[in-house]
């Protein structure tokens, strides 16, 4: 079910994959998307202010 826990789970998975990848650009992309999901999770949990834009 969608929620902050879901987002954190997906971010954790991307981060884990990034640790197995040597290509710098690919790692950076995974980490950026993971960070974005974590930021949204923080917003949902009320520990970060909401962004005005969805992405």
């Amino acid at each position: 079910m969608f929620g902050s826990k879901y987002l954190r789970a997906r971010a954790a998975h991307l981060t884990a994959i990034s640790h197995t990848i040597t290509d710098v650009a690919s790692r950076a992309a995974l980490i950026e998307v993971a960070d974005d999901l974590l930021r949204w999770a923080d917003e949902l949990d009320g520990i970060a202010p909401p962004k005005s834009n969805g992405v």
């Binding site: 079910m1 969608f2 826990k5 879901y6 954190r8 789970a9 997906r10 954790a12 998975h13 991307l14 981060t15 884990a16 994959i17 990034s18 197995t20 990848i21 040597t22 290509d23 650009a25 690919s26 790692r27 992309a29 995974l30 950026e32 998307v33 974005d36 999901l37 949204w40 834009n53 969805g54 992405v55």
Partner: protein, 157 residues
């Protein structure tokens, strides 16, 4: 022989550990994952074969699941057994994500972006990030995420 990855998740679904192993198929992989001994006991786990997830979606749907009270493998078996009966999000989708997006209103009437739309925006963002990547695993992971986020958006509506 396929290579599987078992991810152990703690509280708040934070990643605790990863264990890679080989198995001849999903059934053997699931049996292998069930027999892992973890200290501390995980909150939940996900089993992947490359970018294909075997158990995670069902576990998240049922979350939170605590294994702390169950020190034997019975509950792990039950969770994994239930999870394997769940079809992946991409398979449950009745139509391609591109078609589903077209039928979804972008905003609520007050102009605040809905969570469903935000999920779709994140999915589009993940696809954009995946497009130029040279690493196939990273690219597939982001594309799989995009599909999953779109399915979540669909489920919200």
């Amino acid at each position: 022989m396929l290579v599987y990855q078992c991810y152990l998740l703690g509280e708040e679904f934070r990643l605790l550990a990863r264990q890679d192993f080989n198995a001849d198929g999903d059934t053997e992989a699931l049996a292998t994952a069930r027999n892992f001994t973890w200290e501390p006991m995980p909150h939940s786990f996900e089993l992947w074969e490359g970018t294909r997830r075997l158990t995670g979606e069902a576990i998240i749907d049922q979350a939170p699941i605590s294994l702390a009270d169950s020190r034997n493998s019975t509950q792990v078996t039950a969770i994994a057994g239930t999870a394997t009966r769940q079809a992946p999000a991409a398979e449950r989708s009745a139509c391609p994500p591109e078609e589903r997006v077209a039928h979804t209103p972008a905003c609520y009437q007050d102009g605040i972006v809905s969570e469903a739309q935000k999920l779709r925006d994140k999915a589009a963002h993940a696809r954009e990030m995946a497009a130029p990547l040279t690493d196939a695993h990273a690219c597939a992971a982001l594309q799989a995420l995009a599909l999953e986020l779109e399915q979540q958006a669909l489920d919200l509506e």
